[in-house]
Amino acid sequence: MEKFYAQALERLAAKEGADEKGLVTQLMAQLKASGRMKLLPGILRELKTIEARREKLMPAVEVASEKEGKEAMAQAKAAGIEVHEVTVNHALIKGWRARSGSTLIDRSAKRGLIDLYRKVTS
């Protein structure tokens, strides 16, 4: 039940021009009226989980070295993932990878080498 309330709140808040304060007031009134005030801590917990999940799936671009940043951002943008800063991950060896929601674009040398290794050893 808490999950459903949290998901409904998230959807309403995501609408353009949503009044977050008003949403909370309406939620409290609804919970009070239906005698479900004890659900409130659970709803908060679910909201935090949703927020953490959203952060985890936020657009992000990793590059192997700082000098590849600009080009990586441009290429990621062309592929539909727009970010304003990149993180450096030396483990990529060369190239970049970008994630947004469920989408992953991996154009790193590390991925290329692992794929090659799997092909050779399978």
Partner: protein
């Protein structure tokens, strides 16, 4: 050395990144072989996913353990998916990257699987190297429709007299074998496999034995027995032992069906034995509860009936246009204390085309195979029974039913009239004749000849207790002296007037020589 380093540096510098976009998710939580995954927005049911252990590691660490772990999507939820892990679930961790594979769970199939022991993913577990299977096939597929099928019309001989005479099975049929533990259910299935050796190679069905939740020692013993009898030449074993994850035990029958369908679609006959579906139901219940699906009766999920019906519906006899192949299903169900009115037995009884009941008390009385003739039935098999078997077995069921009614009076035998005594003796002889040792299925023509002798009173000169012994001698005699008669029954598949005359002559000779 320096030049090598330079060249590698140049290679890296010249690396042109490639790679399109792919759909991924991140493991939110994992435990008990189930992973909750965020993302994977477009994943579909029964799709394979790949848990990638290399994503957040350095290349060096990644190459040490680059083997991907597969998973199967079983729950699609609003905020993610739940998948069962088909491998070492201890290697799956929170935050791990999961990729969509883009295809339904499939297994490699091919003629080269024959003689092999594989797991439900089609990977060899017999230490004989790769299977060489060249095609893949989804383990879940829709059953053939009405127009693609033809009626069951070819017999599948089990080599067990009691079954072939009274509960005949046809190719493409679904016949349930049901009974308590340790009553000989697996033995019936294994004898059926062994008996296919006596079939001509062209029409010999490929046998697939699916061991679900069995002890590995039992499966190993069984494989050794099949190999010993030369039956592995046409048999494939799919094993999901008790020690394997519940997902494997749930998937094993579907893998067996997929392999069987491969042969059926080539116009061949295949027999698949699911040993046993009670354990598969338990594994599915475990998965469903872990996937947080609502429990129903006996805590099984609501779709437990559909689980078995969609599996068994894949057994079919295809029409000529579709190649005329067949897939016969012999599911096994284990009952508790002989109770067949519990949830899973009643479900599977209603799905199948008949059942062979084995009873613990008959087994303990030494009547083996311990088939309860009264409650065993084959709903379509009689249409496939050969004329020879039909002719000789017509009277057996009736005689045995009469004998069971009179059996209660046996203890007052001295007070019984001659007619009743005769009927009881005849029933006892028939019962003795139907006894058969493990691992000794009889070729169809021998079964027909022995049953013919029994129903026509050729064992009447022997005391009922000595019928088994007399039968053994008869078999020996017939294979030595009446090979031509047996061969005629085998080729014509019926007992014509001439064959009957010859057979009677041989039987008279046998009684003359050995009768008491």
């Amino acid at each position: 050395m320096e030049s090598i380093i330079k060249r590698i540096e140049e290679e890296i510098a010249g690396f042109a990144p490639k790679g399109g976009s792919e759909e991924t998710g991140i493991v939110r939580a994992t435990g008990d072989g189930i992973a909750e995954i965020d993302g994977l927005d477009r994943a579909i049911m029964n799709e394979m996913v790949l848990f990638d252990p290399t994503f957040d590691r350095t290349l060096e660490a990644a190459l040490k353990d680059a083997d991907p772990i597969y998973g199967l999507v079983l729950n699609l939820e609003e905020d993610g998916v739940r998948a069962v892990i088909l491998g070492d679930s201890a290697k799956v961790y929170e935050g791990m990257l999961v990729r969509r594979v883009g295809r339904l769970l499939s297994i490699p199939v091919g003629d080269s699987l024959v003689g092999r022991v594989v797991n439900p993913l089609g990977e060899p577990v017999d230490g004989k190297g790769p299977t060489g299977a060249d095609k893949t096939r989804p383990i879940e597929s829709e059953a053939y429709g009405v127009m693609d099928r033809s009626p069951v019309n070819t017999p599948l001989h089990t080599g067990i007299k009691a079954i072939d005479a009274m509960v005949p099975i046809g190719r493409g049929q679904r016949e349930l074998i049901i009974g308590d533990r340790g009553t000989g259910k697996t033995t019936i299935a294994i004898d059926t496999i062994i008996n296919q050796k006596s079939e001509p190679e062209a029409t010999r069905p490929i046998c697939i034995y699916v061991a679900i939740g069995q002890k590995e020692s039992k499966t190993a013993k069984l494989v050794a027995e099949l190999a010993d009898k030369g039956a592995m030449e046409y048999t494939i074993v799919v094993t999901a032992p008790a020690s394997s994850p519940a997902a494997f035990q749930f998937l094993a029958p579907f893998a067996g069906a997929a392999i069987g369908e491969h042969f059926m679609e080539q116009g061949k006959d295949a027999v698949v034995i699911y040993d046993d579906l009670s354990k598969q139901a338990v594994a599915y219940r475990q998965l469903s509860l872990l996937l947080r699906r609502p429990p129903g009766r006996e805590a099984y999920p609501g779709d437990i009936f559909y689980l078995h019906s969609r599996l068994l519906e894949r057994a079919a006899k295809l029409s000529k246009e579709k190649g005329g192949g067949s897939l016969t299903a012999l599911p096994i169900i284990e009952t508790q204390e002989g109770d067949i009115s519990t949830y899973i037995p009643t479900n599977v009884i209603s799905i199948t085309d008949g059942q062979i009941f084995v009873l613990a008390n008959l087994f303990n009385q030494g009547l083996r195979p311990a088939i309860d003739v009264g409650n065993s039935v084959s709903r379509v098999g009689s249409a496939a029974q050969t004329k020879a078997m039909k002719k000789v077995s017509g009277k057996i069921k009736l005689e045995l039913a009469q004998f069971r009614e009179l059996e209660a009076f046996m203890q007052f035998a001295s007070d019984l009239d001659e007619g009743t005594k005769k009927q009881i003796d005849s029933g006892r002889r028939m019962t003795e004749m139907l006894k058969q040792p493990n691992g000794k299925p009889l070729p169809f023509e021998m079964e027909a000849a022995v049953i013919f002798a029994a129903v026509n009173g050729y064992f009447d000169t022997f005391s009922p207790e000595k019928t088994s012994e007399a039968e053994a001698r008869l078999q020996e005699y017939l294979s030595r002296e009446a090979n031509d008669v047996l061969a005629s029954i085998r080729t014509t598949r019926e007992i014509t007037e001439t064959i009957e005359k010859d057979l009677r002559a041989k039987l008279d000779q046998f009684v003359e020589r050995t009768g008491e």
